[in-house]
């Protein structure tokens, strides 16, 4: 059977969620594997959320925020960046491949970019196969 990965997406309300909305309004097509959770800011994404997603069966986690310098809350995206950097290190030790956690920037006008990121990430995780955490 074909492996259809499950990807949890955390999108900031102001840029990336709006960008994903624009992808919809523009009827751009991308794989249905991503399931979006709206947060006010990418800085809201507690590393716990990412771990919880992996523990609950996600094969990938995508965090999208405003481009650096464009954060609606000034610098929440930088905080997300710092947390993700540390979190990746930890995930590596758990045997989770780096590519399963992706942080990217999508502005409210970049519907095509969002669709592209989801496509790319879905393909990548299909290559990696289902997540199996080293025990």
């Amino acid at each position: 059977m074909n492996f259809e990965p499950k990807i949890v997406g955390f999108l900031c309300n102001w840029c990336s969620y709006a960008g994903a909305d624009l992808a919809g309004t523009s009827r751009l097509k991308y794989p249905p594997n991503v399931r979006v959770i709206r947060v006010m800011c990418s800085g809201r994404v507690d590393p716990l959320f990412v771990l919880k997603a992996f523990a609950s069966g996600a094969d990938g986690v995508l965090i999208c925020g405003c481009h650096p310098g464009d954060c609606h809350y000034l610098e929440g995206n930088y905080k997300a960046l710092r947390r993700v950097t540390l979190l990746r290190e930890m995930l590596k030790q758990l045997g989770v491949e780096e590519e399963r956690l992706r942080l990217d920037w999508v502005s409210a006008s970049e519907g095509d970019r969002f669709a592209h990121i989801v496509k790319e990430m879905t393909e990548k995780i299909k290559e990696l196969g289902p997540l199996s955490i080293r025990t």
């Binding site: 259809e4 499950k6 949890v8 309300n13 102001w14 840029c15 969620y17 709006a18 994903a20 909305d21 992808a23 919809g24 309004t25 009827r27 751009l28 097509k29 991308y30 794989p31 249905p32 594997n33 399931r35 979006v36 959770i37 709206r38 947060v39 006010m40 800011c41 800085g43 809201r44 994404v45 507690d46 590393p47 716990l48 959320f49 919880k52 997603a53 609950s56 069966g57 996600a58 405003c66 310098g69 464009d70 609606h72 809350y73 000034l74 610098e75 929440g76 905080k79 947390r83 502005s107 409210a108 006008s109 970049e110 669709a115």
Partner: protein, 651 residues
């Protein structure tokens, strides 16, 4: 209280129901824990759809509602109102976005995904708590940035209602690009004649405080309560003493290219850009003033009878408080130099549209004579459309004014040089506005040659006697299907309108965003083109996208109306979804304090806990993400709710 959840799935006509099996999603929802009722309906946002929810709230005693429909950015306010009208707190709603994020973007798997999104929303809504929206007073003053026609129009609309306007312009005078134009299409009104009365009204209006030669330094605060720092650049001329006699400009020995005349004439180092400037007080251009460069001269000072020259003046930063902000920062003219095949900068007689405007203008460098650099009257002129617009190498968009101003140029040439041959090289003629098509027809009857084709090259390499000493425009006439070489004396490039060079910096200062073309992004492209994603900040004119004067004026008035409606209400509701710290759980580690970008968290020494100032908190939740004790709840987005949502999407 036990959660009693109602789930409502919208068909949105065929927008959702066309690809998602709404019946299956409804049945699925019906089986979820705490769900009392699940229904689907054609248009949930319609009156009958809303009534459906209201009835259920009343009859079934629902205390939580999930609406699976479009983006919450679209209809969340609608459904929140429904809850409120049914006597339920508006924050007890959660939306599942099954349209923008599902039915519109996927070819398969849409029903499964819709189930997952509904499941997540049901799991999350259980954690929602009633919140009270807070109201704060709305400052009745307005800041308008940019003194072109958009800023002028908006300023007058608001000031006429006797509310204070701070109008900030970075040039020495208001007027913008419009004051540089000669005639305006399609009516051929003289641009200055229709604009200067408005400019002088701004200059003398008791409710307008005008800051020219000034820029915005910093913006803080939020809707209704912005604090703005304005840098008044040193003018080196005392505005109170100057009488505007102009003797300083006469006596100043230093000449500089005039920006107002698009570089075709010169101005002095102390100057007012044009005679009708508002305010009619010159500035000293420090970069080019002999005194500032070499330490001697001061000719202006010697001749100024009013004693208005003050070389010791310094920049001054003024702070104002406003409720709303309107950005009307305009556009830049595309520089055609990179399109080397058109020879701008290489051949003297290739002009940009703005240069040509100044050539036609009776107050311009040639007194309104259309003449070449060597003083001859051109006997033939080619006008090349879409230079920098509709071109994937530069700007993909149409600049919306070039077809029409190009037609206007034809008319002006015909008027001033009746015998001249005029060629319009166009891709498509776009004459969409009121009176535009009629104007096109009129010009066709004035003996203008229309050639449909994008110009490949402008060259001086003659291949026949007829072409000697001329500029040869090479193009393909796509209607006749042949290549043409047209020798002319003068070439005018219909240059694009593009975003201001510092658009990114300005967007950051005001916390707004740009669209892909680089112009400011509107809140909704159709229904809210004058608002931005940042509450209380509006946009008007070409900073939002290229447009002509009537459209600019309409948008500026609309933006002013939006500001006025907020002002007349006098108060504004601000986000209730702030962060709150549980004193019992807070360990007093202070991790959250430096993380808050708004300085909303402080430490209470007595209790040894952190505390959030809700008036400053904007609800980003960054603190909640970092709190090692889990003591901070980002309301509406509490950790437990999001964890439940994560489980929900992974069914």
């Amino acid at each position: 209280m036990e959660p009693r959840i109602g789930v409502y799935i919208c068909h949105c006509g065929a927008n959702i129901a066309g690809t998602i099996d709404v019946e299956a999603v409804t049945q699925f929802a019906q089986g979820l824990g705490d769900v009392v009722v699940a229904r689907n309906y054609k248009f949930m946002c319609s009156d009958p759809g809303q009534a459906l929810i209201k009835n259920d709230i009343a009859e079934l005693g629902l205390n939580r509602v999930v609406v699976a429909a479009c983006s919450p950015r679209m209809h969340e306010p609608t459904f929140r109102r429904v809850l409120q009208e049914a006597g339920l707190n508006l924050y007890l709603l959660e939306m599942a976005n099954i349209r923008e994020h599902d039915s519109w973007v996927h070819e398969n798997g849409t029903t499964e995904k819709a189930k997952a999104l509904v499941n997540a929303a049901v799991k999350k809504v259980r954690f929602h708590q009633p919140l009270e929206a807070r109201e704060v007073p709305f400052n009745p003053n307005t800041l308008i940035v940019g003194g072109g026609i958009a800023g002028i129009q908006a300023a007058l609309e608001i000031a006429d209602s006797e509310h204070r306007v701070y109008l900030v312009e970075r040039e020495p005078s208001i007027g913008g690009h419009m004051i540089q134009l000669d005639k305006t299409f399609p009516t051929l009104d003289c641009s200055a004649c229709i604009l200067t009365p408005k400019m002088s009204a701004v200059g003398s209006h008791p409710f307008i405080t005008l800051f020219t030669w000034s820029e915005i330094e910093e913006v803080s605060g939020f809707i209704g309560n912005f604090k703005v720092k304005i840098r008044k650049k040193a003018r080196y001329v005392d505005m109170d003493k100057c009488t505007g006699c102009g003797i300083c400009q006469e006596k100043c020995p230093w000449k500089v290219e005039s920006e107002f005349d698009a570089g075709l004439a010169q101005r002095k180092a102390i100057y007012t850009p044009f005679p009708q400037a508002v305010p009619n007080v010159p500035v000293i251009d420090k970069e080019h003033c002999a005194y500032f460069l070499k330490g001697t001269c001061r000719a202006c000072e010697k001749f100024c009878e009013a004693g208005a020259i003050n070389f010791d003046q310094e920049d001054e930063v003024v702070e104002v408080e406003v409720g709303a902000i309107i950005l009307a920062t305009g556009y830049d003219v595309f520089d055609p130099t990179p399109i080397t095949q058109y020879g701008y900068g290489k051949y003297g007689n290739v002009y940009t549209a703005l240069e040509f405007e100044r050539l036609c203008n009776s107050a311009g460098p040639t007194g309104g004579e259309i003449i070449l650099r060597d003083g001859r009257r051109p006997q033939s002129v080619a006008i090349i459309h879409c230079v920098g617009s509709r071109d994937q190498n530069y700007h993909e968009y149409c600049s919306r004014v070039c077809c029409m101003y190009s037609l206007k140029f034809s008319h002006l040439i015909r008027e001033k040089i009746p015998e001249a041959e005029i060629y319009q090289f166009y891709i498509d003629m776009r004459c969409f506005g009121k009176g535009f098509e009629e104007f096109y027809k009129r010009l066709s009857d004035e003996g203008v040659n229309f050639i449909r084709g994008k110009v490949a090259q402008v060259t001086d390499q003659a291949i026949s006697e007829e072409e000697q000493g001329k500029l040869i425009v090479c193009a393909e006439d796509t209607l006749l299907g042949n290549l043409v070489r047209v020798p002319v004396d003068m070439v005018v490039l219909s240059t694009a309108l593009e975003p201001r060079r510092d658009v990114e910096e300005v967007a950051r200062t005001f916390s707004i965003t740009e669209s892909q073309d680089g112009f400011f992004l509107e809140r909704h492209p159709k229904l809210d083109p004058m608002a931005t994603m940042t509450d209380g900040i509006f946009i008007a004119g070409c900073c939002q996208g290229p447009k002509d004067i009537p459209d600019t004026v309409a948008q500026a008035s609309a933006a002013a109306t939006r500001a006025l409606s907020l002002i007349s209400r006098g108060k504004v509701e601000i986000e209730a979804a702030t962060a709150v710290i549980d004193e019992e759980l807070c360990s007093g580690c202070k991790t959250c304090i430096p993380l808050c970008p708004f300085g909303a968290i402080s430490f209470e020494e007595e209790k040894k806990t952190s505390v959030v100032n809700e008036a400053l908190c904007k609800g980003c939740g960054t603190c909640a993400a970092a709190c090692p004790s889990g003591a901070i709840a980002a309301r509406q987005f509490i950790t437990e709710g999001i964890l439940a949502q994560i489980e929900g999407v992974l069914v």
